[in-house]
């Protein structure tokens, strides 16, 4: 008895020591980019690093860090060094994300806020940024309302609206695959708006909806939905899932041999998803928001090479570019007006066209006036199981669609900005 309690005591001390040692090692490791100094310009990144969106978040972080390097190499913002303060927003916990946004704004006094991948969290922290009048860039949360019905003067978004993605892919699908569509839609705002966009775009081109199901976020087993889809005998089964859901759904659809009976397609697709699929499941017609293999566009090759160096040989994905463009946007806004005043910066970005070394796409990209939405090119094409040149070349772009041609008019988006007087 006494010997046991003795050993526990010893253990406790030893464990505390070990924990402390591990803790110190961790704090000293390269994850920490948060050396908080006073005279720097601060950009707060409130984005997921854990949970479902961790992979996407980490890619955005890689892009963000590269942008930071570029900015500081060119002398920083207004002559001051720029610092990136990274907070893990978690993948779905709005309480945490909002708290982190407040912490970055109130305590760390950041000049810019960047985030979030999860549309819901993006919206939630946009509200905080609006309340505190901080220049906010959303790199990758797609729901329309962020730059639509809930838009704010201080919020800018790099990634597309779901509506733009839907319109971009619709005509190509009708032309190549058929008019009867069956929708498998994830049950949250991103999925809903994506489906609504597709239905609208398809209707214009004579496409019809023959059925559909809302699948909960985080569904692991799609078999019963796929059974229903196949019973409806459509031309195309549309998969609107993102991330791990898309991996699960496509993997199972291909195992069921549905790819041999129907055309499998969707709207937004990401390189992260295709990389997670076994080769036989890398199929279908999709839209990419940015793609690394653009041999004829200037600056892209350099960007790809730099990212490869930073990420251990991996190519940049659309997410990497979102992160890169978001941080670059912050720097550009400040340089434009030679000030860190959020209202001045936001005014300067209205209709602003990103320089080609940041846009990295054939027709460039600009922030639409009165909405804060970036209007870039969209890349429609097919997934391919093995790249000819590179193992990570898993998408074949067949069509570059100009954002202008697929974006709704400003009135249609429902965005009305009220500027502080």
């Amino acid at each position: 008895m006494s010997s046991e309690s003795f050993s526990i005591k010893l253990d406790r001390r030893a464990l505390i020591k070990t924990a402390a040692a591990v803790g110190v090692a961790q704090i000293a490791s390269p994850f920490v980019i948060t050396a908080r100094a006073a005279d720097t310009v601060k950009i707060g990144l409130d984005n997921p690093l854990t949970g479902t969106y961790a992979a996407l978040g980490k890619n955005e972080l890689i892009g963000a860090k590269l942008a930071l390097e570029h900015i500081n190499a060119k002398g920083g913002i207004l002559g001051r060094k720029v610092e990136l303060l990274v907070e893990d927003s978690t993948s779905g916990d709005a309480g945490t994300a909002v708290q982190k946004a407040r912490k970055l704004i109130d305590r760390d006094k950041v000049d810019f806020l960047v985030g979030n991948i999860n549309s819901a969290l993006a919206q939630a922290i946009a509200n905080v940024a609006y309340e505190k009048k901080v220049f906010h860039v959303v790199p990758g949360g797609h729901t329309d309302s962020v730059t639509g019905s809930n838009c704010h003067w201080n919020v800018f978004r790099i990634c597309n609206t779901t509506q733009m993605e839907a319109s971009a892919v619709a005509s190509s699908l009708i032309k190549n695959a058929g008019k009867k569509w069956y929708y498998l839609t994830p049950d949250y705002a991103f999925g809903h708006t994506l489906q609504a966009g597709l239905e609208k775009a398809a209707a214009k081109l004579g496409g019809t909806k023959v059925g559909g199901d809302l699948t909960p976020l985080g569904t692991t087993d799609y078999s019963s939905y796929l059974i229903k889809a196949q019973a409806a005998k459509p031309d195309v089964i549309i998969f609107l899932q993102a991330g791990d859901d898309a991996v699960n759904a496509l993997k199972q659809a291909v195992q069921f041999g549905l790819n041999k009976k129907f055309h499998l397609a969707g709207a937004q697709q990401e390189l992260e998803v295709l990389l997670g699929l076994p080769p036989e499941a890398r199929i279908g017609t999709w839209v990419f928001e940015w793609y690394w293999n653009q041999p004829n566009v200037p600056h892209v090759k350099e960007f790809v090479a730099e990212i490869r160096k930073a990420s251990g040989g991996h190519v940049p994905t659309a997410r990497t570019w979102f992160g890169y463009a978001a941080i670059s946007t912050c720097a550009i806004a400040a340089q434009q007006v030679k000030s860190l005043d959020a209202v001045k910066m936001a005014k300067a970005m209205q209709g602003f066209k990103l320089p080609p070394e940041i846009a990295l796409m054939p027709d460039g990209a600009y922030f639409r006036k009165g909405q804060g939405q970036l209007i870039p090119d969209l890349f429609v094409g097919q997934a391919q199981s093995k790249g000819a040149s590179d193992p990570e070349d898993l998408f074949k772009v067949s069509d570059v669609v100009k954002g202008e041609s697929v974006a709704e008019s400003l009135a249609e988006t429902g965005c009305k900005q009220t500027w502080p007087s």
Binding site: I8, D11, R12, L15, I16, A19, G23, Q26, I27, S29, F31, V32, T34, L49, T50, E87, D88, G92, D93, A94, G95, T96, V98, Q99, K100, R102, K103, D106, R107, S119, A120, Q123, A124, N127, E131, T143, N150, D187, Y188, A189, F190, H192, P216, L217
Partner: protein, 318 residues
């Protein structure tokens, strides 16, 4: 005041002094007012859970459900019903309490691990409702399009909407009311029957205490306090999402109670403070913070099962 009374009152005096002055010193130690509000709100939830866990000896691992119901109740009142922060809190608390009261009879006959398991599973029902009924709850995107509103008291208006310090004190008043009621109940004959059940359920039954009925009442009180905390949590963030109902949130409440000390009245509040600050700090420091939180759980369980206050009380006594 007798010296013995004073030692008994000392913890209360210290806790209240710290809480009342928090906005003045928090920023000097690297915090911010909202962090303070969060500690008080989550502390209230942990204290509410502990009414059941520490004082009745019943292990619920599903209290996030009632926390979340309180949050949704408050948010949906403001979003759909009427623009009144006060009504939001009242309705939110009522919804959580009623749900607890209805589920209670289904589960109070169960004990120990089984009770814990069933409470988790029932909690998930509400999670899925919030998650799937997106036309009303906003689903995974959360409930947006509303915000807490200034408090109109007739003679004056308190701007808890834009002034974080005012909101902090508003939360503290709610906290004081709920905590006061719980402390008072625990000193009553009814409170003593709960402690009796915790100490020895068999003996209590043969003292003529109808265990199921008393556990049910304790459960409902606990759910009420936790749903009040949930309502305040919604107002704090101006946002609710299904994550507030998820079972991992329940685990957070339990670890707060254990960490601070289940057998001490203020233990869960101390636990909440430590846990919230630690999490906030760790997740800013390293992307592997989850491992550290997990390790922290393990260390607390293995080496500090009586919690911080438990250890202090023991040291003081010996």
């Amino acid at each position: 005041m007798q010296p013995a009374d004073f030692t008994k009152q000392a913890p209360n005096i210290v806790v209240w002094a710290l809480l009342l002055t928090m906005p003045f010193w928090l920023s000097h130690v690297g915090g911010y007012t909202e962090l303070g509000s969060q500690v008080v709100v989550l502390g209230l939830a942990a204290l509410g859970l502990n009414f059941l866990l520490g004082y009745t000896g019943v292990l619920s691992f599903g209290h996030a459900a009632y926390f979340g119901l309180g949050a949704y109740g408050a948010g949906m009142t403001l979003r759909y019903l009427l623009p009144s922060t006060g009504m939001g809190i009242i309705i939110g608390t009522l919804i959580g309490t009623i749900a607890g009261a209805i589920i209670g009879p289904l589960i109070i006959r169960l004990r120990g691990v089984y009770f814990a398991m069933v409470t988790i599973a029932f909690g998930q029902v509400f999670y899925f409702i919030a998650f799937r009924w997106s036309s009303v709850t906003g689903g995974d995107d959360g409930l947006t399009g509303w915000t807490r509103l200034p408090l109109h008291l007739g003679f004056t208006t308190i701007d808890i909407q834009n002034n974080p310090v005012a909101f902090y004190y508003f939360v503290l008043v709610m906290f004081a009311i709920a905590v006061g009621i719980m402390a008072w109940l625990l000193r009553s004959p009814f409170g003593r029957t709960l402690i009796a059940i915790r100490e020895n359920e068999r003996r209590s039954r043969f003292l003529g205490i109808p265990i199921d009925q008393h556990i049910w009442i304790s459960w409902v009180i606990s759910c009420a306090v936790v749903s009040l905390a949930g309502a305040l949590f919604a107002l704090l963030n101006n946002f609710v999402d299904p994550r507030a109902l998820y079972w991992t949130q329940s685990g957070d409440f339990v670890i707060m109670a254990v960490l601070g000390g289940m057998r001490s009245f203020w233990g869960p509040l101390i636990g909440a403070a430590i846990y919230v600050v630690l999490r906030d700090y760790l997740s800013s420091m390293t992307e592997n913070w989850e491992s550290f939180i997990g390790l922290f759980f393990v260390l607390v369980v293995l080496f500090f099962p009586r919690g911080v206050l438990g250890i202090i009380t023991r040291k003081v006594k010996s």
